[in-house]
Symmetry: C2
Subunit: 155 residues, 2 copies
């Protein structure tokens, strides 16, 4: 049974896994990626704080909302490293994050509205179409996969 012997106040990776539904491997991966930074026991095991649950939950939510881990990492930078984040810290992060979300949603809505006109319009090459600009795209050749969340129009 996890979480018993690990000095009170600290949680094992198993505890965190149970409470967030995240696989331990995913949690380790997030540490590797710098999204969380649990301390270690003398034996080398990860020791989490209760506040890490909230941190991981935020990561999950942000992912469901379509943000890449790199973006989420940036958002999380708003939280203090030295101390446990307060409610006010989280609210500040939340406000900033919400703005990003609003932007993303607005972009989708704009694209949606333009789509109707574009499907029906006569621009086969779409070169003059508001939805699709070949020049912009051509300039992006050879830069690796473009279809990554970090490369969406609303970023």
């Amino acid at each position: 049974m996890p979480g018993k012997a690990l000095r009170r106040g600290n949680l094992s990776i198993g505890d965190i896994s149970d409470r967030t539904g995240l696989a331990p491997s995913a949690i380790r991966y997030y540490e590797e990626e710098g999204l969380i930074a649990p301390i270690r026991s003398t034996g080398g095991r990860r020791l989490f704080q209760r506040s890490d649950i909230r941190r991981l939950s935020f990561i999950l939510i942000a992912q469901q909302l379509g943000f890449a881990l790199s973006e989420i990492r940036e958002e999380l930078r708003a939280l203090p490293e030295a101390r446990t984040p307060t409610r006010r810290d989280w609210e500040k992060l939340s406000r900033h994050f919400r703005k990003r979300l609003e932007t993303r949603i607005a972009t989708l809505e704009a694209l949606r509205d333009k789509l109707d006109g574009c499907i029906g319009c006569g621009c086969l090459s779409l070169s003059t179409c508001a939805l699709y600009n070949a020049e912009d795209r051509a300039a992006r050749h050879g830069q690796g996969p473009r279809y990554l969340l970090g490369d969406r129009p609303d970023n």
Copy 2:
């Protein structure tokens, strides 16, 4: 110079690349994935129709809107294979696609609204939080990367 000698009416992959801004490698990849099906010249080269430009443009737009190639392939099934799609064909596809988009946007908005309450709420484990359901998530373990567009809540 491409597109000159290939029997009139047909376009080379180079022409298509120029008009869509897509790299030839990407176009070939879409064929491999069953999103487009150009015919071949006697020499084995791909011959595209002008209508393929529209098809590829739709693919690009749908991607920008956050849809995976597998989903886009499904949407494109609405188009006839035997003949060149008519404007009516495209409008039908567009109507269906727009519904999917509306759903996606609505989900994002719902998540956004719930986020505010959740950041401030007291549910550290978020187990009772509307935004985050650990049970649902735990049941999904071991099914490969969850962070793929096809696995978004609005699918």
